[in-house]
């Protein structure tokens, strides 16, 4: 089982490396959106500082949603998914591996880039540290929740719109808590409660989403 998990992660990373354009699209989107706001809003430091956490979090959320349909679509198209469904290893485990690999290529870069991009908003040093921390806790949750949506909308024609409708309401708590935590830190308060709640959402989604996504994949593959 662990071996299957490891191979599945390795496989998805290998595929992402051989086709970097897919991954880079979402990252470029994130950089562009975050960088355009200061240009559009104007160079008012206080305003920029206020909107920074929200803008960066919303951009990260949209960027991770942009890459969601890719999670299972290619495997579905070439028949690899059928073979995964017939695997002697539990499908939930394979889904976990796919979410982890997906996060490594499309979530982790967002986390790492966020402090650099936040510099454009003249964010103070202590909230500069809080931002990647909230994203580190929050983006995997987006991946786990997104996996359910991606699995449910697999093979549908207008899957993009439907996927956003399904997934966005579930993303909202993560967004509120994530951006809220950075706001708290910026205001000089402790964001402990927010961190714990985001972590709780992560644990919850990691525990249940793989099985839900696995069930959805079996339905979509019929």
């Amino acid at each position: 089982m662990l071996r299957t998990l490891r191979v599945a992660i390795y496989r998805d990373l290998l595929l992402a490396m051989r086709r970097p354009a897919d991954v880079l699209t979402a990252l470029a989107f994130f950089v562009i959106v975050v960088s355009l706001f200061p240009l559009g809003v104007g160079p008012e430091p206080q305003l920029l500082r206020t909107i920074a956490p929200g803008v960066i979090w919303v951009s990260a959320l949209l960027a991770s949603m942009l890459s969601l349909p890719r999670m299972f679509a290619a495997d579905h198209a070439d028949g690899t998914l059928e073979q995964m469904l017939l695997s002697a290893a539990p499908l939930g485990g394979i889904v976990v591996a796919k979410v982890i690999a997906h996060w490594l290529v499309s979530g982790l870069p967002l986390v790492l880039m966020s402090p650099v991009l936040a510099l454009q908003y003249d964010v103070e040093a202590h909230s500069l540290a809080a931002l990647p921390l909230t994203l580190l806790l929050g983006t995997p949750t987006l991946g786990f929740i997104g996996a359910i949506g991606a699995a449910l909308t697999l093979g549908l024609r207008s899957s993009g719109v439907l996927l956003s409708l399904l997934v966005l309401p579930l993303y909202v708590p993560v967004l509120i808590l994530g951006a809220g935590a950075v706001d708290m830190v910026a205001a000089g308060m402790s964001a402990q409660g927010h961190y714990l709640l985001i972590a709780a959402l992560l644990v919850l989604s990691a525990a249940f989403a793989p099985w839900a996504a696995a069930a959805a994949l079996r339905i979509s593959a019929e």
Binding site: V7, R11, D78, G79, A88, A89
Partner: protein
């Protein structure tokens, strides 16, 4: 071993086949015949557990495949219409990673031997993108060699896109597998003669 009990398949509004029952023991080849659109692929997908029948059940070793699940899939190799070959992976990676994802293990020597058997050893380091349709089919079929231990082979049109030599090889592989006690279920429009102890036929569209 494998038993279908009154299986009915409905796609959309159309009933493809209803109350289909049969069972096969070891050392058996079952050919699924019928014209295009009579539900051959659907039947194979139901047998694999990829699709749920509208009514009826599929049993493996006396237990419903819906309860044994992974235990059943350990015993099953399915080669479908889609080759399950990733364009960006090499032929060898496709086979090795495919086996690992299926919960089996195939080391590089086994993978190479399987590719060699299908005459595509020289393609092992090439990305599947550059392979021809027939070569990709060979990579997909080479999976049955790395999963030799599985007693039930379910092959959907195994002989399409293959040249005469590969058809002959596939024929020998199926014969060897069945003569060693395994069973194979296949759909084919080509009448490839097989010398095996028990050979049965289900024709869809007539039942």
């Amino acid at each position: 071993m494998l038993e279908l009990r009154e299986v009915t398949c409905i796609r959309g509004e159309r009933t493809l086949f209803s109350d289909l029952s049969f069972s096969i023991e070891g050392s058996t080849v079952l050919r699924v015949g019928g014209a295009n659109g009579t539900g051959k692929t659907s039947l194979l997908r139901i047998i694999c557990g990829l699709m749920l029948p509208a009514h009826g059940e599929v049993h493996w070793q006396g237990e419903s495949i819906r309860t044994v699940r992974e235990e059943y899939w350990k015993d099953l190799v399915y080669v479908g219409h889609l080759n399950a070959v990733k364009d960006d992976l090499t032929a060898a990676e496709n086979l090795g990673i495919g086996a690992a994802l299926a919960g089996r293990s195939a080391d590089s020597a086994e993978v190479f031997a399987a590719l060699d058997m299908f005459g595509i050893a020289q393609c092992a380091p090439l990305p599947a993108r550059v392979l021809s349709q027939g070569q990709r089919r060979r990579v997909a079929l080479a999976r049955v060699v790395t999963c030799k231990a599985s007693p039930l082979w379910v092959l959907d049109e195994p002989f399409t896109a293959l040249d005469a030599a590969a058809v002959e090889l596939m024929r020998q592989l199926i014969e060897a597998h069945v003569n060693a006690g395994g069973s194979a279920i296949l759909t084919t429009h080509q009448e490839v003669p097989l010398t095996v102890p028990v050979q049965r036929r289900v024709d869809l569209g007539t039942c």
